[in-house]
Amino acid sequence: MIAQYILNDMEETNGKKILVIEDEPPMREAIVATLSQHKFSILTSDNGKDGLEIALKEHPDLILLDIFMPKMDGLTMLETLRSDVWGHDVPVIILTNLNPEADATIRSILDQKPAYYLIKSNVTLEAIVTKVKEVLNMS
Protein backbone atom coordinates (compact mmCIF):
# COMPACT_ATOMS: atom_id res chain seq x y z
CA MET A 1 0.00 0.00 0.00
CA ILE A 2 1.51 3.27 -1.11
CA ALA A 3 -0.85 5.14 1.14
CA GLN A 4 0.68 7.80 3.23
CA TYR A 5 -0.58 9.33 6.41
CA ILE A 6 0.64 12.82 7.00
CA LEU A 7 0.78 12.98 10.75
CA ASN A 8 0.17 16.42 11.99
CA ASP A 9 0.59 17.46 15.55
CA MET A 10 -3.04 17.27 16.69
CA GLU A 11 -2.77 20.59 18.44
CA GLU A 12 -1.80 22.27 15.20
CA THR A 13 -4.69 20.96 13.11
CA ASN A 14 -8.08 22.51 12.60
CA GLY A 15 -9.64 19.16 13.48
CA LYS A 16 -10.77 18.23 9.95
CA LYS A 17 -9.34 15.20 8.18
CA ILE A 18 -9.08 15.20 4.37
CA LEU A 19 -8.29 12.18 2.18
CA VAL A 20 -6.50 13.14 -1.04
CA ILE A 21 -6.68 10.44 -3.74
CA GLU A 22 -4.47 11.49 -6.65
CA ASP A 23 -1.94 9.44 -8.62
CA GLU A 24 0.30 12.21 -9.93
CA PRO A 25 2.87 13.09 -7.27
CA PRO A 26 3.43 16.78 -8.20
CA MET A 27 -0.29 17.53 -8.07
CA ARG A 28 -0.82 15.48 -4.93
CA GLU A 29 2.06 17.22 -3.19
CA ALA A 30 0.81 20.67 -4.18
CA ILE A 31 -2.62 19.90 -2.72
CA VAL A 32 -1.16 18.41 0.42
CA ALA A 33 1.15 21.39 0.95
CA THR A 34 -1.70 23.86 0.53
CA LEU A 35 -4.12 21.98 2.78
CA SER A 36 -1.38 21.67 5.42
CA GLN A 37 -0.93 25.40 5.42
CA HIS A 38 -4.62 25.64 6.28
CA LYS A 39 -4.11 23.23 9.18
CA PHE A 40 -6.00 20.24 7.82
CA SER A 41 -4.78 16.78 8.70
CA ILE A 42 -4.25 14.84 5.55
CA LEU A 43 -4.37 11.26 4.35
CA THR A 44 -3.23 10.39 0.83
CA SER A 45 -3.47 7.57 -1.67
CA ASP A 46 -2.33 7.24 -5.28
CA ASN A 47 -5.15 4.93 -6.44
CA GLY A 48 -8.85 4.31 -5.92
CA LYS A 49 -8.46 0.85 -4.40
CA ASP A 50 -6.16 1.85 -1.53
CA GLY A 51 -8.04 5.13 -1.20
CA LEU A 52 -11.29 3.24 -0.60
CA GLU A 53 -9.66 1.10 2.07
CA ILE A 54 -8.24 4.12 3.89
CA ALA A 55 -11.57 5.97 3.62
CA LEU A 56 -13.58 3.12 5.14
CA LYS A 57 -11.00 2.68 7.93
CA GLU A 58 -10.24 6.30 8.78
CA HIS A 59 -13.58 8.00 8.01
CA PRO A 60 -12.17 11.35 6.79
CA ASP A 61 -14.40 14.43 6.86
CA LEU A 62 -14.00 14.95 3.12
CA ILE A 63 -12.44 13.19 0.13
CA LEU A 64 -10.68 14.86 -2.79
CA LEU A 65 -10.91 12.34 -5.62
CA ASP A 66 -9.16 12.12 -8.99
CA ILE A 67 -10.81 10.06 -11.75
CA PHE A 68 -8.11 8.55 -13.97
CA MET A 69 -5.97 6.40 -11.69
CA PRO A 70 -4.35 2.97 -11.71
CA LYS A 71 -5.80 -0.08 -9.89
CA MET A 72 -9.24 1.45 -9.40
CA ASP A 73 -10.52 4.63 -11.05
CA GLY A 74 -12.23 7.34 -9.06
CA LEU A 75 -15.75 6.69 -10.32
CA THR A 76 -15.68 3.01 -9.40
CA MET A 77 -14.26 3.97 -6.02
CA LEU A 78 -17.07 6.48 -5.48
CA GLU A 79 -19.74 3.97 -6.44
CA THR A 80 -18.42 1.42 -3.95
CA LEU A 81 -18.00 4.10 -1.30
CA ARG A 82 -21.65 5.15 -1.64
CA SER A 83 -22.85 1.61 -0.87
CA ASP A 84 -21.28 1.87 2.61
CA VAL A 85 -23.40 3.33 5.42
CA TRP A 86 -20.78 5.90 6.43
CA GLY A 87 -19.53 6.32 2.85
CA HIS A 88 -23.02 7.12 1.61
CA ASP A 89 -22.97 10.62 3.07
CA VAL A 90 -19.32 11.64 3.17
CA PRO A 91 -18.73 14.75 1.02
CA VAL A 92 -16.60 14.07 -2.07
CA ILE A 93 -15.02 16.66 -4.32
CA ILE A 94 -14.06 15.15 -7.64
CA LEU A 95 -10.90 16.85 -8.82
CA THR A 96 -10.11 15.93 -12.39
CA ASN A 97 -9.27 17.30 -15.80
CA LEU A 98 -12.12 15.45 -17.47
CA ASN A 99 -15.04 17.56 -18.67
CA PRO A 100 -18.10 16.62 -16.61
CA GLU A 101 -20.43 17.85 -19.34
CA ALA A 102 -19.01 15.34 -21.76
CA ASP A 103 -19.48 12.25 -19.71
CA ALA A 104 -22.87 10.81 -18.89
CA THR A 105 -21.44 8.48 -16.19
CA ILE A 106 -19.92 11.42 -14.37
CA ARG A 107 -23.16 13.35 -14.58
CA SER A 108 -25.14 10.50 -13.09
CA ILE A 109 -22.60 9.98 -10.32
CA LEU A 110 -22.69 13.67 -9.54
CA ASP A 111 -26.35 13.19 -8.75
CA GLN A 112 -25.29 10.99 -5.82
CA LYS A 113 -24.85 13.89 -3.47
CA PRO A 114 -22.96 15.18 -1.64
CA ALA A 115 -20.48 15.29 -4.52
CA TYR A 116 -18.83 18.28 -6.12
CA TYR A 117 -16.79 18.72 -9.21
CA LEU A 118 -13.75 20.85 -9.95
CA ILE A 119 -11.63 20.88 -13.09
CA LYS A 120 -8.00 20.97 -11.98
CA SER A 121 -6.63 23.12 -14.78
CA ASN A 122 -9.37 25.71 -14.20
CA VAL A 123 -9.03 26.14 -10.43
CA THR A 124 -6.37 27.59 -8.19
CA LEU A 125 -5.20 25.76 -5.08
CA GLU A 126 -6.76 28.60 -3.10
CA ALA A 127 -10.12 27.91 -4.80
CA ILE A 128 -9.86 24.23 -3.81
CA VAL A 129 -9.33 25.21 -0.18
CA THR A 130 -12.27 27.61 -0.38
CA LYS A 131 -14.48 24.83 -1.77
CA VAL A 132 -13.33 22.38 0.93
CA LYS A 133 -14.11 24.89 3.67
CA GLU A 134 -17.46 25.71 2.10
CA VAL A 135 -18.47 22.04 1.94
CA LEU A 136 -17.36 21.52 5.54
CA ASN A 137 -19.20 24.67 6.65
CA MET A 138 -15.97 26.23 7.86
CA SER A 139 -16.15 29.47 5.95
Binding site: E24, P26, M27, A30, I31, A33, T34, N97, L98, N99, E101, A102, A104, R107, I119, K120, S121, N122, T124, L125, E126
Partner: protein, 497 residues
Protein backbone atom coordinates in the same frame (compact mmCIF):
# COMPACT_ATOMS: atom_id res chain seq x y z
CA UNK B 1 -33.25 16.55 -114.71
CA UNK B 2 -36.10 17.62 -116.93
CA UNK B 3 -37.97 14.36 -116.19
CA UNK B 4 -37.95 14.91 -112.44
CA UNK B 5 -41.50 15.48 -111.24
CA UNK B 6 -42.42 18.92 -109.99
CA UNK B 7 -43.19 17.73 -106.48
CA UNK B 8 -39.60 16.64 -105.87
CA UNK B 9 -38.29 20.07 -106.69
CA UNK B 10 -40.54 21.59 -104.05
CA UNK B 11 -39.36 19.06 -101.51
CA UNK B 12 -35.81 19.85 -102.39
CA UNK B 13 -36.28 23.55 -101.71
CA UNK B 14 -37.63 22.89 -98.26
CA UNK B 15 -35.21 20.36 -96.81
CA UNK B 16 -31.89 21.34 -98.31
CA UNK B 17 -31.67 24.01 -95.69
CA UNK B 18 -31.52 21.41 -92.91
CA UNK B 19 -29.45 18.61 -94.40
CA UNK B 20 -27.66 17.92 -97.69
CA UNK B 21 -30.16 16.20 -99.92
CA UNK B 22 -29.61 14.02 -102.98
CA UNK B 23 -32.12 12.63 -105.49
CA UNK B 24 -31.64 9.31 -107.27
CA UNK B 25 -33.92 7.56 -109.77
CA UNK B 26 -33.92 3.74 -110.09
CA UNK B 27 -35.56 1.35 -112.55
CA UNK B 28 -37.56 -1.55 -111.21
CA UNK B 29 -34.39 -3.65 -110.97
CA UNK B 30 -32.79 -1.09 -108.67
CA UNK B 31 -30.37 0.09 -111.33
CA UNK B 32 -29.50 3.80 -111.03
CA UNK B 33 -30.80 5.65 -114.08
CA UNK B 34 -30.47 9.30 -113.12
CA UNK B 35 -28.97 11.35 -110.29
CA UNK B 36 -28.62 15.01 -109.30
CA UNK B 37 -25.33 16.78 -108.64
CA UNK B 38 -25.70 16.55 -104.89
CA UNK B 39 -25.60 12.74 -105.15
CA UNK B 40 -22.07 12.98 -106.56
CA UNK B 41 -20.93 15.23 -103.73
CA UNK B 42 -22.64 13.16 -101.06
CA UNK B 43 -21.21 9.82 -102.18
CA UNK B 44 -17.87 11.18 -103.36
CA UNK B 45 -18.11 10.35 -107.08
CA UNK B 46 -16.63 12.54 -109.77
CA UNK B 47 -19.04 12.13 -112.70
CA UNK B 48 -22.52 10.85 -113.47
CA UNK B 49 -21.00 8.24 -115.82
CA UNK B 50 -19.26 6.53 -112.91
CA UNK B 51 -22.51 5.93 -111.05
CA UNK B 52 -25.29 5.58 -113.63
CA UNK B 53 -25.99 1.91 -114.35
CA UNK B 54 -24.77 0.72 -110.95
CA UNK B 55 -26.96 -1.41 -108.73
CA UNK B 56 -28.42 0.90 -106.06
CA UNK B 57 -27.72 -1.58 -103.23
CA UNK B 58 -24.00 -1.20 -103.96
CA UNK B 59 -24.25 2.24 -102.34
CA UNK B 60 -25.47 0.63 -99.09
CA UNK B 61 -23.26 -0.82 -96.32
CA UNK B 62 -23.35 -4.63 -96.11
CA UNK B 63 -25.07 -4.81 -92.73
CA UNK B 64 -28.00 -2.71 -94.03
CA UNK B 65 -28.36 -4.26 -97.52
CA UNK B 66 -31.05 -6.73 -96.61
CA UNK B 67 -33.27 -4.11 -94.95
CA UNK B 68 -32.94 -1.80 -97.91
CA UNK B 69 -33.75 -4.61 -100.38
CA UNK B 70 -36.88 -5.46 -98.41
CA UNK B 71 -37.90 -1.80 -98.39
CA UNK B 72 -37.28 -1.53 -102.17
CA UNK B 73 -39.62 -4.42 -102.80
CA UNK B 74 -42.28 -2.85 -100.65
CA UNK B 75 -42.00 0.36 -102.67
CA UNK B 76 -42.42 -1.74 -105.86
CA UNK B 77 -45.71 -2.99 -104.34
CA UNK B 78 -46.82 0.65 -104.14
CA UNK B 79 -45.91 1.51 -100.54
CA UNK B 80 -44.08 4.78 -99.83
CA UNK B 81 -41.09 4.75 -97.53
CA UNK B 82 -40.06 7.78 -95.49
CA UNK B 83 -37.07 8.32 -93.21
CA UNK B 84 -35.47 4.89 -93.56
CA UNK B 85 -32.12 5.20 -91.82
CA UNK B 86 -29.12 3.20 -92.94
CA UNK B 87 -25.40 3.46 -93.61
CA UNK B 88 -24.30 4.46 -97.09
CA UNK B 89 -20.91 3.72 -98.71
CA UNK B 90 -18.92 6.42 -100.43
CA UNK B 91 -16.66 5.81 -103.43
CA UNK B 92 -13.59 5.72 -101.15
CA UNK B 93 -15.22 3.06 -98.97
CA UNK B 94 -15.99 5.35 -96.00
CA UNK B 95 -19.47 5.41 -94.52
CA UNK B 96 -22.12 8.05 -94.16
CA UNK B 97 -25.39 7.90 -92.31
CA UNK B 98 -28.39 8.53 -94.54
CA UNK B 99 -32.11 8.85 -94.22
CA UNK B 100 -34.00 7.80 -97.39
CA UNK B 101 -37.55 8.34 -98.63
CA UNK B 102 -38.81 6.59 -101.76
CA UNK B 103 -41.89 6.61 -104.02
CA UNK B 104 -42.93 4.53 -107.04
CA UNK B 105 -43.86 6.19 -110.33
CA UNK B 106 -45.88 4.26 -112.93
CA UNK B 107 -46.19 4.61 -116.71
CA UNK B 108 -49.38 5.67 -118.50
CA UNK B 109 -50.63 2.05 -118.47
CA UNK B 110 -50.20 1.87 -114.70
CA UNK B 111 -47.21 -0.46 -114.73
CA UNK B 112 -44.33 0.32 -112.30
CA UNK B 113 -41.77 2.43 -114.16
CA UNK B 114 -39.25 3.93 -111.83
CA UNK B 115 -38.52 4.65 -108.20
CA UNK B 116 -37.45 8.10 -107.02
CA UNK B 117 -35.40 8.18 -103.84
CA UNK B 118 -34.59 11.29 -101.81
CA UNK B 119 -31.55 10.82 -99.59
CA UNK B 120 -30.49 13.05 -96.67
CA UNK B 121 -26.99 12.92 -95.23
CA UNK B 122 -27.61 12.89 -91.49
CA UNK B 123 -24.02 12.11 -90.51
CA UNK B 124 -23.32 15.54 -88.91
CA UNK B 125 -26.58 15.43 -86.96
CA UNK B 126 -25.84 11.93 -85.75
CA UNK B 127 -22.32 12.70 -84.65
CA UNK B 128 -23.68 15.54 -82.54
CA UNK B 129 -26.07 13.12 -80.90
CA UNK B 130 -23.23 10.69 -80.35
CA UNK B 131 -21.13 13.43 -78.80
CA UNK B 132 -23.96 14.23 -76.41
CA UNK B 133 -24.33 10.54 -75.60
CA UNK B 134 -20.60 10.22 -75.04
CA UNK B 135 -20.58 13.27 -72.77
CA UNK B 136 -23.53 11.87 -70.82
CA UNK B 137 -21.72 8.56 -70.44
CA UNK B 138 -18.57 10.28 -69.18
CA UNK B 139 -20.60 12.38 -66.75
CA UNK B 140 -22.37 9.27 -65.45
CA UNK B 141 -19.06 7.47 -65.00
CA UNK B 142 -17.50 10.46 -63.24
CA UNK B 143 -20.53 10.75 -60.95
CA UNK B 144 -20.30 7.06 -60.12
CA UNK B 145 -16.60 7.24 -59.28
CA UNK B 146 -17.04 10.35 -57.13
CA UNK B 147 -20.31 9.20 -55.49
CA UNK B 148 -21.68 12.44 -56.78
CA UNK B 149 -25.26 12.73 -57.99
CA UNK B 150 -27.14 15.59 -59.51
CA UNK B 151 -30.81 16.33 -59.79
CA UNK B 152 -33.32 18.71 -61.20
CA UNK B 153 -36.76 19.60 -59.91
CA UNK B 154 -39.30 21.23 -62.16
CA UNK B 155 -41.22 23.10 -59.50
CA UNK B 156 -44.35 23.94 -61.51
CA UNK B 157 -44.99 20.33 -62.56
CA UNK B 158 -43.37 18.90 -59.39
CA UNK B 159 -41.30 16.51 -61.53
CA UNK B 160 -37.85 15.35 -60.43
CA UNK B 161 -35.06 14.13 -62.62
CA UNK B 162 -32.26 12.22 -60.94
CA UNK B 163 -29.04 11.04 -62.54
CA UNK B 164 -28.20 7.34 -62.19
CA UNK B 165 -25.78 8.07 -59.35
CA UNK B 166 -28.53 9.90 -57.44
CA UNK B 167 -30.50 6.64 -57.48
CA UNK B 168 -27.36 4.72 -56.43
CA UNK B 169 -26.80 7.13 -53.51
CA UNK B 170 -30.38 6.57 -52.38
CA UNK B 171 -29.94 2.77 -52.68
CA UNK B 172 -32.28 2.49 -55.69
CA UNK B 173 -31.90 0.90 -59.13
CA UNK B 174 -31.11 3.71 -61.61
CA UNK B 175 -34.25 5.19 -63.16
CA UNK B 176 -36.33 2.39 -61.55
CA UNK B 177 -39.08 4.58 -60.09
CA UNK B 178 -40.32 8.11 -60.57
CA UNK B 179 -38.89 10.43 -57.92
CA UNK B 180 -40.92 12.59 -55.58
CA UNK B 181 -40.44 14.07 -52.12
CA UNK B 182 -41.48 10.80 -50.48
CA UNK B 183 -38.79 8.83 -52.31
CA UNK B 184 -36.29 11.50 -51.37
CA UNK B 185 -37.18 11.43 -47.67
CA UNK B 186 -37.84 7.67 -47.30
CA UNK B 187 -34.47 6.75 -45.79
CA UNK B 188 -33.28 10.12 -44.55
CA UNK B 189 -32.34 9.81 -40.85
CA UNK B 190 -35.45 10.45 -38.70
CA UNK B 191 -33.76 13.35 -36.90
CA UNK B 192 -32.80 15.01 -40.19
CA UNK B 193 -36.12 14.69 -42.08
CA UNK B 194 -37.45 18.02 -40.87
CA UNK B 195 -34.10 19.63 -41.67
CA UNK B 196 -34.19 18.38 -45.27
CA UNK B 197 -37.77 19.61 -45.75
CA UNK B 198 -36.91 23.03 -44.33
CA UNK B 199 -33.81 23.11 -46.50
CA UNK B 200 -35.87 22.82 -49.67
CA UNK B 201 -38.31 25.54 -48.60
CA UNK B 202 -35.47 27.75 -47.45
CA UNK B 203 -33.58 27.27 -50.73
CA UNK B 204 -36.62 28.47 -52.66
CA UNK B 205 -36.67 31.61 -50.53
CA UNK B 206 -32.90 32.20 -50.51
CA UNK B 207 -32.07 31.16 -54.08
CA UNK B 208 -29.53 28.56 -52.99
CA UNK B 209 -28.56 26.36 -50.08
CA UNK B 210 -26.04 23.96 -48.59
CA UNK B 211 -26.86 21.11 -46.21
CA UNK B 212 -25.25 18.03 -44.71
CA UNK B 213 -27.67 15.33 -43.63
CA UNK B 214 -27.72 11.68 -42.70
CA UNK B 215 -29.10 8.85 -44.80
CA UNK B 216 -29.72 5.39 -43.36
CA UNK B 217 -28.79 2.75 -45.92
CA UNK B 218 -31.75 0.33 -45.94
CA UNK B 219 -29.44 -2.58 -46.83
CA UNK B 220 -27.11 -2.45 -43.83
CA UNK B 221 -28.70 0.28 -41.64
CA UNK B 222 -25.40 2.16 -41.74
CA UNK B 223 -25.46 5.93 -41.60
CA UNK B 224 -24.11 7.76 -44.60
CA UNK B 225 -23.54 11.50 -44.77
CA UNK B 226 -24.68 13.44 -47.81
CA UNK B 227 -23.59 16.94 -48.69
CA UNK B 228 -26.19 18.74 -50.75
CA UNK B 229 -26.00 22.01 -52.65
CA UNK B 230 -28.70 23.56 -54.75
CA UNK B 231 -29.76 26.58 -56.72
CA UNK B 232 -33.22 27.91 -57.54
CA UNK B 233 -34.21 29.53 -60.83
CA UNK B 234 -37.05 32.04 -61.10
CA UNK B 235 -39.21 33.36 -63.91
CA UNK B 236 -39.59 37.06 -64.73
CA UNK B 237 -42.19 37.44 -61.97
CA UNK B 238 -39.75 35.99 -59.41
CA UNK B 239 -41.76 32.80 -59.17
CA UNK B 240 -39.56 29.74 -58.55
CA UNK B 241 -39.70 27.45 -61.57
CA UNK B 242 -36.76 25.13 -61.30
CA UNK B 243 -34.25 23.88 -58.77
CA UNK B 244 -31.05 22.05 -59.60
CA UNK B 245 -28.76 20.44 -57.10
CA UNK B 246 -25.89 18.12 -56.36
CA UNK B 247 -25.57 15.35 -53.80
CA UNK B 248 -22.21 14.12 -52.59
CA UNK B 249 -21.48 11.16 -50.32
CA UNK B 250 -19.12 12.63 -47.69
CA UNK B 251 -19.30 9.78 -45.17
CA UNK B 252 -15.54 9.22 -45.33
CA UNK B 253 -14.79 12.92 -44.88
CA UNK B 254 -17.14 13.05 -41.89
CA UNK B 255 -15.48 10.01 -40.34
CA UNK B 256 -12.02 11.50 -40.80
CA UNK B 257 -13.25 14.77 -39.38
CA UNK B 258 -14.55 12.91 -36.35
CA UNK B 259 -11.28 11.11 -35.83
CA UNK B 260 -9.54 14.50 -35.95
CA UNK B 261 -11.98 16.02 -33.48
CA UNK B 262 -11.66 13.04 -31.15
CA UNK B 263 -7.89 13.37 -31.32
CA UNK B 264 -8.18 17.05 -30.41
CA UNK B 265 -10.44 16.17 -27.51
CA UNK B 266 -8.04 13.54 -26.14
CA UNK B 267 -4.99 15.76 -26.71
CA UNK B 268 -6.65 18.70 -24.94
CA UNK B 269 -7.59 16.57 -21.96
CA UNK B 270 -4.01 15.29 -21.76
CA UNK B 271 -2.60 18.81 -21.94
CA UNK B 272 -4.61 19.85 -18.93
CA UNK B 273 -2.50 17.61 -16.66
CA UNK B 274 0.91 19.27 -17.08
CA UNK B 275 -0.76 22.70 -17.29
CA UNK B 276 -2.35 22.08 -13.88
CA UNK B 277 1.05 21.21 -12.42
CA UNK B 278 2.57 24.40 -13.85
CA UNK B 279 -0.33 26.54 -12.61
CA UNK B 280 -0.40 25.18 -9.09
CA UNK B 281 3.34 25.42 -8.59
CA UNK B 282 3.44 28.94 -9.99
CA UNK B 283 0.63 29.80 -7.59
CA UNK B 284 2.55 28.35 -4.64
CA UNK B 285 5.72 30.22 -5.61
CA UNK B 286 3.87 33.50 -5.92
CA UNK B 287 2.11 33.07 -2.60
CA UNK B 288 4.97 31.96 -0.44
CA UNK B 289 6.24 34.94 1.48
CA UNK B 290 9.23 33.32 3.17
CA UNK B 291 11.03 31.90 0.14
CA UNK B 292 12.98 35.08 -0.47
CA UNK B 293 12.16 35.52 -4.16
CA UNK B 294 13.13 38.88 -5.60
CA UNK B 295 10.49 41.06 -7.23
CA UNK B 296 12.05 40.40 -10.65
CA UNK B 297 11.90 36.66 -10.05
CA UNK B 298 8.28 36.96 -8.99
CA UNK B 299 7.57 38.92 -12.14
CA UNK B 300 9.10 36.15 -14.26
CA UNK B 301 7.03 33.54 -12.48
CA UNK B 302 3.94 35.68 -12.99
CA UNK B 303 4.67 35.68 -16.76
CA UNK B 304 4.97 31.88 -16.74
CA UNK B 305 1.75 31.64 -14.80
CA UNK B 306 -0.09 33.99 -17.21
CA UNK B 307 1.12 32.06 -20.24
CA UNK B 308 0.05 28.79 -18.69
CA UNK B 309 -3.38 30.17 -17.83
CA UNK B 310 -3.76 31.39 -21.44
CA UNK B 311 -2.92 27.91 -22.67
CA UNK B 312 -5.56 26.49 -20.34
CA UNK B 313 -8.14 28.86 -21.85
CA UNK B 314 -7.17 27.81 -25.36
CA UNK B 315 -7.33 24.14 -24.38
CA UNK B 316 -10.75 24.66 -22.82
CA UNK B 317 -12.07 26.38 -25.95
CA UNK B 318 -10.72 23.61 -28.19
CA UNK B 319 -12.39 21.07 -25.92
CA UNK B 320 -15.71 22.91 -26.05
CA UNK B 321 -15.56 23.03 -29.84
CA UNK B 322 -14.66 19.32 -30.01
CA UNK B 323 -17.48 18.31 -27.70
CA UNK B 324 -19.97 20.43 -29.64
CA UNK B 325 -18.75 19.13 -32.99
CA UNK B 326 -18.85 15.54 -31.81
CA UNK B 327 -22.39 16.10 -30.60
CA UNK B 328 -21.24 14.92 -27.16
CA UNK B 329 -22.25 18.05 -25.32
CA UNK B 330 -25.20 16.91 -23.21
CA UNK B 331 -28.29 19.08 -23.37
CA UNK B 332 -30.15 19.25 -20.04
CA UNK B 333 -32.87 21.89 -20.41
CA UNK B 334 -34.03 23.64 -17.24
CA UNK B 335 -35.91 26.84 -16.38
CA UNK B 336 -33.43 29.63 -15.80
CA UNK B 337 -33.54 33.35 -15.14
CA UNK B 338 -31.48 35.16 -17.77
CA UNK B 339 -30.54 38.16 -15.54
CA UNK B 340 -29.55 35.78 -12.72
CA UNK B 341 -27.22 33.75 -14.97
CA UNK B 342 -25.83 36.93 -16.53
CA UNK B 343 -25.04 38.33 -13.07
CA UNK B 344 -23.45 35.08 -11.96
CA UNK B 345 -21.13 35.05 -15.00
CA UNK B 346 -20.43 38.75 -14.58
CA UNK B 347 -19.08 38.11 -11.05
CA UNK B 348 -16.10 36.30 -12.60
CA UNK B 349 -15.19 39.53 -14.38
CA UNK B 350 -15.75 42.00 -11.50
CA UNK B 351 -12.04 42.24 -10.90
CA UNK B 352 -11.15 42.92 -14.55
CA UNK B 353 -13.96 45.46 -14.96
CA UNK B 354 -12.74 47.36 -11.88
CA UNK B 355 -9.11 47.11 -12.99
CA UNK B 356 -9.85 48.58 -16.44
CA UNK B 357 -12.25 51.17 -14.98
CA UNK B 358 -14.94 50.01 -17.37
CA UNK B 359 -18.46 51.20 -16.74
CA UNK B 360 -20.61 48.08 -17.13
CA UNK B 361 -24.33 48.80 -17.45
CA UNK B 362 -27.00 46.13 -17.11
CA UNK B 363 -30.44 46.77 -18.56
CA UNK B 364 -33.01 44.07 -17.89
CA UNK B 365 -36.51 44.81 -19.07
CA UNK B 366 -39.20 43.96 -16.51
CA UNK B 367 -41.40 40.88 -16.80
CA UNK B 368 -38.77 38.67 -18.42
CA UNK B 369 -40.06 35.09 -18.50
CA UNK B 370 -37.67 32.26 -17.61
CA UNK B 371 -35.71 30.64 -20.42
CA UNK B 372 -35.67 26.88 -20.87
CA UNK B 373 -32.20 25.84 -21.95
CA UNK B 374 -29.01 24.10 -20.88
CA UNK B 375 -27.20 25.96 -18.11
CA UNK B 376 -23.68 25.21 -19.28
CA UNK B 377 -24.37 26.31 -22.85
CA UNK B 378 -26.12 29.49 -21.69
CA UNK B 379 -23.25 30.36 -19.36
CA UNK B 380 -20.78 29.71 -22.19
CA UNK B 381 -22.58 32.25 -24.38
CA UNK B 382 -22.46 34.90 -21.63
CA UNK B 383 -18.83 34.12 -20.82
CA UNK B 384 -17.66 34.47 -24.40
CA UNK B 385 -19.62 37.68 -25.04
CA UNK B 386 -18.70 39.40 -21.79
CA UNK B 387 -15.02 38.46 -21.90
CA UNK B 388 -14.78 39.61 -25.53
CA UNK B 389 -16.39 42.97 -24.74
CA UNK B 390 -14.04 43.51 -21.79
CA UNK B 391 -10.91 42.39 -23.69
CA UNK B 392 -11.56 44.61 -26.67
CA UNK B 393 -12.68 47.76 -24.85
CA UNK B 394 -9.97 50.20 -23.76
CA UNK B 395 -9.84 51.41 -20.13
CA UNK B 396 -12.67 53.72 -19.05
CA UNK B 397 -14.91 52.49 -21.84
CA UNK B 398 -18.55 51.54 -21.47
CA UNK B 399 -20.23 48.17 -21.94
CA UNK B 400 -24.00 47.88 -21.94
CA UNK B 401 -25.71 44.52 -21.62
CA UNK B 402 -29.41 44.50 -22.46
CA UNK B 403 -31.83 41.62 -22.07
CA UNK B 404 -35.37 42.02 -23.34
CA UNK B 405 -38.16 40.22 -25.14
CA UNK B 406 -37.80 40.59 -28.90
CA UNK B 407 -40.64 42.90 -30.02
CA UNK B 408 -40.61 41.60 -33.59
CA UNK B 409 -40.44 37.85 -32.97
CA UNK B 410 -42.71 35.79 -30.75
CA UNK B 411 -41.25 33.79 -27.88
CA UNK B 412 -37.76 35.13 -28.38
CA UNK B 413 -35.33 36.93 -26.10
CA UNK B 414 -33.05 39.62 -27.40
CA UNK B 415 -29.66 39.79 -25.76
CA UNK B 416 -27.28 42.54 -26.74
CA UNK B 417 -23.84 43.58 -25.57
CA UNK B 418 -22.65 46.93 -26.82
CA UNK B 419 -19.12 48.18 -26.17
CA UNK B 420 -17.16 51.33 -26.93
CA UNK B 421 -14.16 49.28 -27.96
CA UNK B 422 -11.77 48.81 -30.84
CA UNK B 423 -14.42 47.56 -33.26
CA UNK B 424 -14.01 45.10 -36.11
CA UNK B 425 -12.47 46.39 -39.38
CA UNK B 426 -15.06 46.44 -42.15
CA UNK B 427 -12.94 44.22 -44.42
CA UNK B 428 -12.76 41.49 -41.78
CA UNK B 429 -16.34 41.53 -40.57
CA UNK B 430 -17.54 38.63 -42.68
CA UNK B 431 -14.82 36.33 -41.32
CA UNK B 432 -15.47 37.08 -37.68
CA UNK B 433 -17.36 33.83 -36.91
CA UNK B 434 -14.74 31.65 -38.58
CA UNK B 435 -12.89 29.13 -36.43
CA UNK B 436 -9.55 30.53 -35.15
CA UNK B 437 -10.03 33.87 -36.93
CA UNK B 438 -8.98 37.00 -35.07
CA UNK B 439 -9.29 40.52 -36.40
CA UNK B 440 -5.92 42.19 -37.05
CA UNK B 441 -6.55 45.03 -34.57
CA UNK B 442 -7.68 42.51 -31.94
CA UNK B 443 -4.50 40.47 -32.40
CA UNK B 444 -2.37 43.58 -32.07
CA UNK B 445 -4.05 44.68 -28.84
CA UNK B 446 -4.94 41.51 -26.97
CA UNK B 447 -2.56 38.57 -26.76
CA UNK B 448 -4.68 35.97 -25.02
CA UNK B 449 -7.53 35.47 -27.50
CA UNK B 450 -8.16 32.04 -28.98
CA UNK B 451 -10.26 32.99 -32.01
CA UNK B 452 -12.77 30.40 -30.87
CA UNK B 453 -15.23 32.38 -28.72
CA UNK B 454 -17.59 33.62 -31.42
CA UNK B 455 -17.27 30.33 -33.28
CA UNK B 456 -18.40 28.53 -30.11
CA UNK B 457 -21.41 30.85 -29.71
CA UNK B 458 -22.38 30.24 -33.31
CA UNK B 459 -22.06 26.45 -32.87
CA UNK B 460 -24.23 26.53 -29.74
CA UNK B 461 -26.87 28.65 -31.45
CA UNK B 462 -26.88 26.39 -34.50
CA UNK B 463 -27.39 23.37 -32.27
CA UNK B 464 -29.94 24.79 -29.89
CA UNK B 465 -31.74 27.45 -31.85
CA UNK B 466 -31.05 31.16 -31.95
CA UNK B 467 -29.17 33.66 -34.03
CA UNK B 468 -26.26 36.04 -33.67
CA UNK B 469 -25.47 39.20 -35.59
CA UNK B 470 -23.51 42.39 -34.97
CA UNK B 471 -22.82 45.95 -35.96
CA UNK B 472 -19.36 47.37 -35.60
CA UNK B 473 -17.33 50.40 -36.43
CA UNK B 474 -13.59 50.59 -35.98
CA UNK B 475 -12.55 52.63 -32.93
CA UNK B 476 -16.20 53.29 -32.08
CA UNK B 477 -17.34 49.93 -30.79
CA UNK B 478 -19.23 46.74 -31.46
CA UNK B 479 -22.71 45.55 -30.60
CA UNK B 480 -23.42 41.83 -30.60
CA UNK B 481 -27.07 40.80 -30.72
CA UNK B 482 -28.37 37.36 -29.95
CA UNK B 483 -31.88 36.07 -30.45
CA UNK B 484 -32.66 33.19 -28.10
CA UNK B 485 -35.90 31.23 -28.23
CA UNK B 486 -37.87 31.00 -24.94
CA UNK B 487 -37.43 27.23 -25.19
CA UNK B 488 -34.19 26.00 -26.76
CA UNK B 489 -34.33 23.02 -29.03
CA UNK B 490 -31.73 20.30 -29.21
CA UNK B 491 -30.93 19.50 -32.78
CA UNK B 492 -28.28 17.02 -31.69
CA UNK B 493 -26.14 16.96 -34.77
CA UNK B 494 -24.30 19.63 -36.53
CA UNK B 495 -24.95 21.57 -39.68
CA UNK B 496 -21.70 22.46 -41.27
CA UNK B 497 -22.06 25.06 -43.91
Amino acid sequence: MSDTPQVLNLNYQKTVILFPEAILVFDTNAIITRIDKQTLTMFGWESEQEIIGKLGFDLIADQDKQNVQTAFHEVLQGKSITGLQCNGVKKDGSFLRISASASLFSDSQGAPKEIVVVVHDITPHLSELEQVKEAQKQLAEAQQIAHFGSWEWDISSDKFHWTDEMYQLFALEPQSIPVNQEVLLAHVHEEDKEKVKNFITQSIADGSGVLDFRFVDPEDNKIRWFHSRNKTFYDDNHQPIRMVGTMHDITREKELDQVKTQFLSVASHQMRGPLTTINWHAEMLLQSQSEGLSDTQKKYIQELYNASKRTVRLTNDILTVSELELGRMPFKPESLSLPKIAKRVLEDYDHKIAEQKISFKEVYSGDLPEIVTDLFLLKTIFHELISNAISYTPPEGTITMTISVDPSHTNTFLLSIADTGYGIPKSEQEKIFTKMFRATNAKAKVMGGTGLGLFIIKLILELNGGEIWFTSEENKGTTFNIALPFVSSNKGTLLTT
